[in-house]
Symmetry: C2
Subunit: 237 residues, 2 copies
């Protein structure tokens, strides 16, 4: 029997899904999971996602880098914000990273019932797609959204993964149909498509269009990582 694929469009919908025995892919394209891929590709040993600013700050010192955002802005006292551009090799290589974000890190912590919790963004698209295809397990694509609302960039990336898995996986889910449809349209010009999203509009107000553009770079940071013992650790196919 072919493995199944489904999509959770917002954390508010997670309770409707049984994660046990499945692979969950957490998706927060702008910007938590993109940042994670960039940091991992540039050499961090592992990433600890935490729910609160206080918990993140406890890790300050030694070779820990403390990073994250609240409402899209860098937190006072943190080493980094949540832009992938900050995580260059010269500053993150061989370091440990603790990260807290408005949406994405909470979704990782909420998915621990799953068999495997992975991280997805356009940055690791093909490598992740290939892993999911070869694993032949049921997959849940978990979109972080924005403050529990559905957002376009996470939905579209989920749709990209559906497209990657359309021959290997089956579905009976309307959410899958919706995101696949959005992705099929977005594939013509991903950046322009996302630029129209309300999140992108908010980005424009914050002067961060560069990050949107950056996060659309498919396969730019092809790292795989899974959540194990409170840490995101790298692994290979």
């Amino acid at each position: 029997m072919e493995p199944k694929i489904d999509v959770v469009l917002s954390p508010n919908l997670l309770e409707l899904y049984d994660l046990s025995g499945k692979i969950v892919v957490v998706i927060d394209v702008l910007r938590a999971t993109s940042t994670m891929c960039a940091a991992m590709s540039n050499g961090v040993r592992h990433i600890k996602p935490v729910a609160t600013v206080e918990e993140a700050l406890k890790h300050q010192g030694g070779d820990w880098l403390v990073a994250g955002e609240r409402n899209g802005e860098k937190v006072t006292g943190f080493d980094f914000g949540n832009s992938p551009a900050e995580y260059t090799k010269d500053v993150v290589d061989r370091k440990q990273l603790v990260l807290t974000t408005t949406n994405g890190t909470k979704c990782i912590l909420a998915s621990t019932q799953a068999d495997e919790v992975l991280i997805g963004s356009f940055f690791n698209y093909s490598k992740l797609g290939e892993y999911l295809k070869s694993s032949a397990k049921d997959v849940i694509l978990f979109c972080a959204g924005w403050k529990n609302r559905v957002n376009l960039e996470d939905s579209v990336f989920a749709g990209y993964l559906v497209d990657y898995l359309k021959e290997s996986h089956t579905w009976e889910s309307d959410a899958v149909e919706l995101v696949h449809l959005a992705a099929t349209t977005a594939m013509n010009d991903l950046e322009a498509f996302l630029y129209n999203a309300s999140h992108a509009k908010r980005f424009r107000r914050l002067g961060n269009h560069e990050d949107l553009k950056r996060c659309c770079a498919i396969d730019a940071y092809p790292s795989l990582m899974r959540y194990e013992n409170d840490l995101l650790v790298p692994f290979d196919n």
Copy 2:
């Protein structure tokens, strides 16, 4: 300032929206809100949506018709199920109707904070669109979904309404972008598009493709109704 439009893709997301001062349109195309439009057009005086089978059964007798479904099937002891085809003029004219369904009726009862609660389906599309346009109030399109999951037919009808209101209303909502995109594609061949939905697949299993086809008949039962004092009552533009 132009009025705003937003979409609630599932009852699980309703808590994120402030309904006060707004018009809520409850959408449960397959089949609660389609049935309501058919019954109203065929002469029922009003419709009482109730949450439970027990409450519905209390109304049996007199000129009350007791109707509804659980899990898509007619309830034992009820006069009608939830297919619009059953609500012909000869049986419903001048009667009172009490209705309970798996998804749609609950959404009406959850929306009473709003300024107005209206009923939407392809059956009353243009008339409803015209009313929303002329009212110039903020609009929330509330998709009932299927057991709190997002479904395609309600999302697509929400997208049709967005399309109707795209000149009169504005939005900063990614859910609006998603449903509008789906509707734009569906408009080429609505029935075929919905036939691919998982709900339609379930319908095929239940042998109810006729109802899907029926519920795609745009403007077939152009009735407006709003929820007032526990009843859905007809009104005109």
